[in-house]
């Protein structure tokens, strides 16, 4: 007789009368495949843990956001937010789909140039640009988004001394009725600082005001905030046209669109509450079209959304290392994915699925990473099936920020693979080795 598959024995205490906080079922379906490929086989081939990126999902997301805007508005341009994920392969997928580059440092600027993006298709944001970087960006025709008056003076000085002209925009911060109000970047709209900056730029023949930029925050769950922001920027644009007879070329609405991940502590799942691209597009385009800007002078809308385009294209697969009982009887499962590589587990209640079938019974579980650090908690509490040591799982929606904000800490970082449109797999970043980590270290003579 064939032997049966053994499932860890479990006993779960029932708590009648207590309402479920989430109000939804706790069934956790197995997820054996990603893009039609067996997760277990990918792990066998590329090791565990393993970041998996889907090229098709990225392209589909770009198509969706393009459609949402282009059916409502004549001129629309995406700029890929490098900080969200600046793996060369990822950037090149977005560039192939027509995205410009949106960078926030000299390093990211050089990376975009290396990926073949000309200066005039780079948007240079960020509060920390250096004189040398500004000179390079200005000479290559990039759009420099000025963040503060000191940067404005620095850029004016650089252009004066090196006889350069710079294409610029200002970043505007404003009250759009949401909390927290982001006012640390750019010039404030309400107190007149933005208008003041515009006047100074218009008075400087070396600076060409091309656009207006705002970035109202991150993970914005309401499309109305964008409507308010677009209305305020349109007001500024029509004031510029009125006073200087100058029509700006673009309004850059920044990023901040939410992905479908569930924020930690959120009452409802992100899958239910995240606005669609259409809702965001409707809010932004209607505000600009209904403004005082003349129809034949409508500026291009630029969007730098990163998270909403890549988050659901990324997964991380891994292996259960151990199970243990905590002092209060709860189960803890230790996995080989830690917060060092899954940085977003500080913000999200990531969706985790086993790759194998299980009986359907779940018990309350804490999921810990493998680091010898108390903060290494991937999920502080979830209803999860009893996985055995060596079994695999997959964590979804990990495409945004993890491959940029991760850190080399205690362990090395794993392989990242890309599944292309033909379901072929490619390593796009090799797993680190000890040699990689120590390559930049130097040992003083007396310690050798």
């Amino acid at each position: 007789m064939e032997k049966r598959v053994f499932e860890r024995p479990t006993i779960t205490k029932l708590s009648p009368g207590l309402p479920s906080k989430h109000g939804v079922g706790t069934a956790i379906a197995p997820m054996p495949f990603v893009e039609g490929l067996k997760v277990d086989e990918l792990i066998e081939k590329y090791g565990s843990p393993l970041f998996i990126l889907s090229e098709s999902v990225m392209r589909k997301n770009v198509e969706d956001v393009n459609r949402a805007f282009k059916v409502r508005y004549p001129k629309f341009q995406l700029a890929w937010s490098y900080k969200t994920n600046y793996l060369d392969a990822v950037c090149r997928v977005f560039h192939q789909e027509g995205s410009w580059a949106e960078v926030v440092s000299g390093f990211e600027y050089d990376k975009a140039r290396r990926n073949g993006i000309p200066g005039e298709h780079i948007i240079f944001n960020g509060p920390g640009k250096k004189a040398k970087e500004l000179a390079k960006a200005a000479s290559e025709g990039a759009y420099i988004h000025i963040d503060h008056f000191d940067e404005l003076y620095l850029l004016a000085d650089v252009c004066q001394k090196q006889n350069l002209e710079a294409r610029v925009a200002i970043r505007v911060n404003m009250d759009v009725g949401i909390y927290p109000k982001w006012d640390r970047f750019g010039f404030n709209y309400e107190n007149g600082e933005a208008w003041d900056a515009i006047n100074r730029i218009m008075a400087n023949p070396k600076l060409k005001l091309m656009g207006l930029h705002t970035h109202i925050g991150t993970y914005i769950m309401t499309a109305d905030a964008y409507k308010i922001a677009a209305t305020k920027l349109s007001d500024l644009a029509s004031n510029i046209a009125h006073k200087f007879n100058h029509n700006i070329a673009y309004i850059d609405m920044g990023g901040g669109f939410a992905s479908r991940n569930t924020l930690r502590g959120a009452y409802l799942s992100g899958e239910d509450t995240t606005p669609s691209f259409d809702e965001y597009a409707d809010a932004i385009t209607s505000a600009i079209i209904n403004s005082q800007i003349k129809p034949d002078k409508l500026p291009t809308i630029i969007l730098e959304t990163g998270r909403a385009l890549i988050d659901d294209a990324g997964h991380i697969a891994g292996t259960v290392i151990a199970n243990k009982r905590l002092s209060d009887g709860r189960r803890a499962t230790i996995i080989d994915v830690g917060v060092n590589m899954l940085f977003t587990s500080f913000w999200y209640d990531h969706k985790i699925n086993p790759t194998q079938n299980h009986s359907g019974l779940v018990e309350e579980t804490i999921i810990y990473g493998p680091l010898c650090m108390n903060i290494d908690v991937i999920r502080p509490s979830l209803m999860f099936p009893p996985l055995k040591v060596g079994e695999h799982f997959i964590i979804s929606r990990t495409g945004a920020y993890n491959n940029t904000q991760w850190m080399q800490f205690i362990t090395t970082r794993p392989n990242i693979i890309l599944i292309d449109k033909n379901r072929e797999t490619h390593i796009v970043r090799k797993a680190e080795t000890l040699d990689d980590i120590v390559a930049n270290e130097e040992i003083p003579e007396h310690l050798k």
Binding site: K3, R4, V5, F6, E7, R8, P9, T10, I11, T12, K13, L14, P16, N323, R325, G329, S359, L361, P386, K388, V389
Partner: protein, 80 residues
Amino acid sequence: MKVKENIAISDNGFVFNPTTGDSFTLNNTGKEILLLIKGGKSMGEIKTTLLSSYDMDETTLDRYLLDFVSELRFNNLIDE
């Protein structure tokens, strides 16, 4: 080791402890083990039974069995 006398175990893995008023659900493996304990089997006998019907090595089984028994104890369902 034996299951406390008044503990009720249903066919579909529902456990009720009338002393404390607590109720529990078991998965299939859990139910099978609890019924073996209730039937008076020793740990060694339980292991032999499970090893003959499941695809499982002894060390792993030991580990999960120990964990399960400690949970039964934690929930006041068995006496030593």
